[in-house]
Symmetry: C2
Subunit: 336 residues, 2 copies
Amino acid sequence: MDGTGTDKLGAPLPTNPTISDVAQRAGVSRAVASRALSDEQRPVSAEKKARVLQAAQELGFRPNLLARSLTTKSVNLVAVVVNHIHDLSDLDLFDPLLAAVQNTGKQVIFVRVGSSDRVESFLRTGVAYHVDAAIVFSDFADAATVRTLFRSELVLMLNGRHDPESPAVIPDERVGIAEAVAHAAAQGVRTAALVTGRPTSVLEQARIRLYHAALAAHGIRLTASLQGDYSYASGHKAGEELAQAPRPDAIFCTSDAMAMGVLDRLRGDFPGGRATTTRLYGFDNLSLTDFDAYPISSIGFDKQAYVAAVIAVLTGAATGPWPLTLPTRFHPRLTG
Amino acid sequence: MDGTGTDKLGAPLPTNPTISDVAQRAGVSRAVASRALSDEQRPVSAEKKARVLQAAQELGFRPNLLARSLTTKSVNLVAVVVNHIHDLSDLDLFDPLLAAVQNTGKQVIFVRVGSSDRVESFLRTGVAYHVDAAIVFSDFADAATVRTLFRSELVLMLNGRHDPESPAVIPDERVGIAEAVAHAAAQGVRTAALVTGRPTSVLEQARIRLYHAALAAHGIRLTASLQGDYSYASGHKAGEELAQAPRPDAIFCTSDAMAMGVLDRLRGDFPGGRATTTRLYGFDNLSLTDFDAYPISSIGFDKQAYVAAVIAVLTGAATGPWPLTLPTRFHPRLTG
DNA sequence: CTGTTAGCGCATTCAG
DNA sequence: CTGAATGCGCTAACAG
């Protein structure tokens, strides 16, 4: 107890008070102080509890939750594992997620995996691996591997690489895609191009299959299939290629950012954002599609519901069977 | 050591091996195991070190860095304190920051303060308060308060509310604003409107003063001053108001998002994004301004340099005097 | 170079 | 209801 400072009576005040300091000041044992300071109801006399609380207050005591975790086996920390956080869709998701997790009394440690090949390097700094739970957006590993990495029972897979044992939440994109394609068909669309993202993602693969099935069901012919990486730039590039050939009646993109790139490259087809010849469909239902310049018809799920589902898993309110699925709907805008 | 599983020889394998398990398996003491597993060079015989490393490998041992921190007093954790992460500018900043911090071998706890009045609620969950350092973007508190909250010596203030004691990095917006206003003046701009963000931020107040000074220096008359909250929606609203009155020659916004809102509302003035009568200037130099639809002239600093400065402070490479300042430059685009 | 001991801050036995 | 003792996983200080 390294004192720097004194209280009103001149007694030394430790700068980093521990529960021992509090106990001493309150004239009780450490155990009593611990019980008094506990969130739960523990046997302490009202009088001593008051003394302890006051002492803690005066000392500015803040329990070292890391030390506490040694005995309780719970750190009140959850890891959020992401590839990166620079997609436009991340803004709509991570902020409410962060708020919701913190509301449960836990804090979030953000683990950015980056390119999957560097995973090894961050394996060494193991702080994250003793968290209470891991929420995995990154598709760097499958459920079994992630479970091994995080010695936690609670590994929540959101990347589609779950197995029957692992809690998982995934959007059910069937309805949304079916609605979008049906909408296109109703507008007389007969040919379409598909602009996709990284093919290594299992979620993306499923999405592509759903598009193929829906297009086939409506007799829409797929004239081109271009691969991007979800980014605006890759959408712009896809638009460039599409501009070379006869335009399809509709362009479906598996991200809104790519649709924005396509839209900008093919502006002539969308005067004022409104579709004339070619119809444009995005994916994610970004809040950015409410901006006037990018009124892109899109497919998306309810972010609040998604976050709520994640929290439910985290708190044990949801118990499977896994995966939990979340309905995805079509949201028409000017381009489609 | 709760065994579930066996190794090749049938010996029980603990699921959550501690250093004791490793030591036992290697046939050495805990201290030797600890030294062998240490990152630094500690006295261990080569032979025993090899045995320990192999045992650790076989057991899948991962040190509990939280327990380690109890004695080393260093958790390898830094807290990043933000109001929220839903501004477009956040995407450009937090991802490289996260990557850079992790590169130093530390992990990041993201603390979202939200509206400042809820600070009390998250005060209780004290996990974050025993971190090695705190990087404070949120303007929820001044340097002295933050220092008290985080018992850390290392509180890096990025919100402008620093004091001489606290390490701080802030953009020097003087040059960028001067350049932008000079650019406008050179185009014959004589009247201007200013669209600002939250006036409670000291950085914002300084920014507004700089605009006033620069405008006055060039004899540009300020015809309107509107207050937004940095968001697209608030910019749209400001554009609405500006549409009611005779247009000023130029509109300066203290965020690109607001400029995007203004631009969309006043599209007629910017056919194809190019300025005709009114010139538009944003702030932040968002990567989004490289999208065709929002070619907004903007003011910003080098994000890489900013992150580098933050890391320099964190690692002790930068030692003051504080604050460190970062030059901000004007980046002309179609609107200005 | 090695092993033993002590202690980080805390919660939890277990006797009183 | 209380307090002394024990241990969580690990490393630092010490003696061999």
